[in-house]
Symmetry: C3
Subunit: 347 residues, 3 copies
Amino acid sequence: MAHTLGELAALLGGKLQGPPDLVIQGIASLDRATPRDITFIAQKRYARLAAQSRAAAFIVGPDQAQLERPLIIVGHPYLAYARIAALFAPPRNRWPGVSHLAFLGQEVELGQEVSIAPLVFIGDGVRLGDRVTIMPGCVLGDRVQIGGDSFLHPNVTILERCTVGQRVIVHSGAVIGADGFGFVPGKEGHQKIPQLGTVVIEDDVEIGANCAIDRGALGETRVGRGVKMDNLVHLAHNVVVGDNSLLVAQVGVAGSTKIGKGVALGGQVGLVGHIELGDGVQVGAQSGVNRSVPSGQTVSGYPARPHQEWVQIMGHLPKLPEMYKRLKELEKKLTELAAKLPEEAGE
Amino acid sequence: MAHTLGELAALLGGKLQGPPDLVIQGIASLDRATPRDITFIAQKRYARLAAQSRAAAFIVGPDQAQLERPLIIVGHPYLAYARIAALFAPPRNRWPGVSHLAFLGQEVELGQEVSIAPLVFIGDGVRLGDRVTIMPGCVLGDRVQIGGDSFLHPNVTILERCTVGQRVIVHSGAVIGADGFGFVPGKEGHQKIPQLGTVVIEDDVEIGANCAIDRGALGETRVGRGVKMDNLVHLAHNVVVGDNSLLVAQVGVAGSTKIGKGVALGGQVGLVGHIELGDGVQVGAQSGVNRSVPSGQTVSGYPARPHQEWVQIMGHLPKLPEMYKRLKELEKKLTELAAKLPEEAGE
Amino acid sequence: MAHTLGELAALLGGKLQGPPDLVIQGIASLDRATPRDITFIAQKRYARLAAQSRAAAFIVGPDQAQLERPLIIVGHPYLAYARIAALFAPPRNRWPGVSHLAFLGQEVELGQEVSIAPLVFIGDGVRLGDRVTIMPGCVLGDRVQIGGDSFLHPNVTILERCTVGQRVIVHSGAVIGADGFGFVPGKEGHQKIPQLGTVVIEDDVEIGANCAIDRGALGETRVGRGVKMDNLVHLAHNVVVGDNSLLVAQVGVAGSTKIGKGVALGGQVGLVGHIELGDGVQVGAQSGVNRSVPSGQTVSGYPARPHQEWVQIMGHLPKLPEMYKRLKELEKKLTELAAKLPEEAGE
């Protein structure tokens, strides 16, 4: 898996500043790189670490071109890092074909070069596209459909009738299509509302470990194209997530809430049900959003409000004890002052 | 699975207003219903959507009887929806009998019509009631007991000696009976306290995907009859949840806390250990409850307090920066005013 | 599994006050103990429950020596309880050897007395130390290494190349080594950064049910010796947790954050990425930590600040509505007062 520095520069379309035949065997962070590795400087604040780095070469932006080490100069070093990382990624072992230790139901349709590992359960009427990979311990309910080149890590569960697009990655322990949380409350107990809908995961989505995405009560729960979800995220029934949104770990979204395109939800954010977040909305970590947010707005806090307002409020919060003291002091002084004034007639 | 409108009206005990022989093939939401579907209006605010709906017929309350469409008029449209949804729910495929690709330990007792799918592990001495369903990937530890008509979705884990009642539904990825988090802290490391207890899940409980319910340290962790838990909920050792309580997604309850009957905990709520929530307590989403709450109270916030108080405080929070400014202004004015007063002798 | 009170006293090195030949058959809490059980009083406030307890005997500290019941008097009753609980813990059933219903890849190296249950998947090049136990439904990726005496509960997933130390306990549903959440954002979608690193779990760690610990982007995510993690905890890529730290349920730690030794994070705490918590830091439940915290400090709140400050602020928060009222009142009074003053020339 070794490459020369010249090859890497050509691949990245970058400017080479150093020996083209230098052999690079891996990529590593500035502090951990060995003389066999290339590294990268994606943020200026890390540039000071370059001098001590043992790396053989550096991927840098034009602002670091003065660095006296072998360099590949590119417009977007972080993107270049992603591409080189892909180059050095160890190949994944896929099961060659369909293991005879997997269980397949009836009328299963498999594309070309599908990989189904041992100890996998595939229900009736499941359809898998070309080059789909199903790792051990996965369970696919009846009539699940998965598009080409998707990859299910071990112990993923996809319940009946849910559909997954192409090039989707689902990490271990994720559950897609469990029943939504729907009950008619009553004094004699809560009556279950059968959850008849499904989940639709569009193309190029990535779903983190131990996420839970519920099926629609009626209709669908939908995760739009290119959405990336971190670990332990909860999506309730009939939630819609717009294309290319990012949901950081432990986010929870209540039922029927609609999230626009290109939205970013910080870690542990909670959204109440039946609201809408417009395109490009950003929500700060741990915020609780209890009403709709217009497109482009950044909100924070609990309950969430425009980020700058929240920052202002939080900046004043520590002054509260002192404010209380000063308020009492003022009241006392004012009383004293009033007492000094001559009594007026008529009062 | 088609039914006539007359059949549905009879089933619901509702008043039919329209053609009894109209054929209904499914149920759908107002906006997604086709002319083959019945739909429902459970909340007045959705009534305005009725005109555009393509639905063949509507389940409505008496307040919507004027709607000039085929109607079934009932006292509780939401409950009627739940019942009709059950009617149209696609039948679940259960494995017919015990798969020879499942592993069963010794002295396992099975009721009638038990369904055990492939790739299931059943430990020694497990007892399953009539019509229990165990889907693929489930693991039941030694001496687990499950009551009749309970349904374990794929990849559920129930650890040794835990018991589950009748008609319980456990969603995928849930773990019942892992060790509680119990250690004796020490300078040389934390000594594990063996967790000797169990978990008891009573009848008619539903447990969401990827929940984690720990066994008691000594004695039990207990989830009362009719409790419904959403996804990713954590119950620590020796927690007790009273009958018919609702725990929304991502709730966390620390050790030995006792939750009364008919309690509702909003999403992402956290409860500290060793407190008691009385019957009928309601806790707003994301709240942190750090002391016991008497029956019937609604609390919110962090730390949680009576809901109306919290709303009042949150309403004033945005005024904090302005208050600070006004306070400073007052101080300045008061100083100026004091300066205008004639100096008094003796001060 | 019965023991005499004398045996237990000798084991604990405690002072026996009662009949040495009293037979003890189990350990239970004060309120649930039967005349066959020993119980313990670890906190003074529970001492009042002793009179009603049906327990055969009590483990107590020197301050309870006056109790007129069979006693074992020890310096640290809670630790003594942990040791007696270990004595009475029911033996765990381990699979004797390697089940022929488990799947083992190529070049797997097994230590002595390894237990591999049915329905386990072990990838190529995996190495398991002596007496390792792998329960049903577990999946170990290629080249995973696990040290001696470690125990994987059912349905655990450990992805390729991750390493686990000795005497580690991993609870059901935990996922170790899923991809970190790394993307280069772009208008045409987010480009995945391949996650090349691994996870290293050191000796004596315990990991709760349904935790998710991501592999490093480059380099490692590392969980130090003796760390104990409760359920549903999320560790992002390249997080480092120092020795003997405690992470309570539903904690989330963002990427590259470094947690010192002996740190305690309360339930549902969130830590942003790229910060450092010094040794011995304590963080209150539900806090959000957005900057580094020096060693030894206790912080709380959102954003987290020194605990005493936070308590003070929270103590004043309920006064906010009243403060606002008093502030307005003051303004009014001041205006009135100013009006009473004689007009000054030049103003």
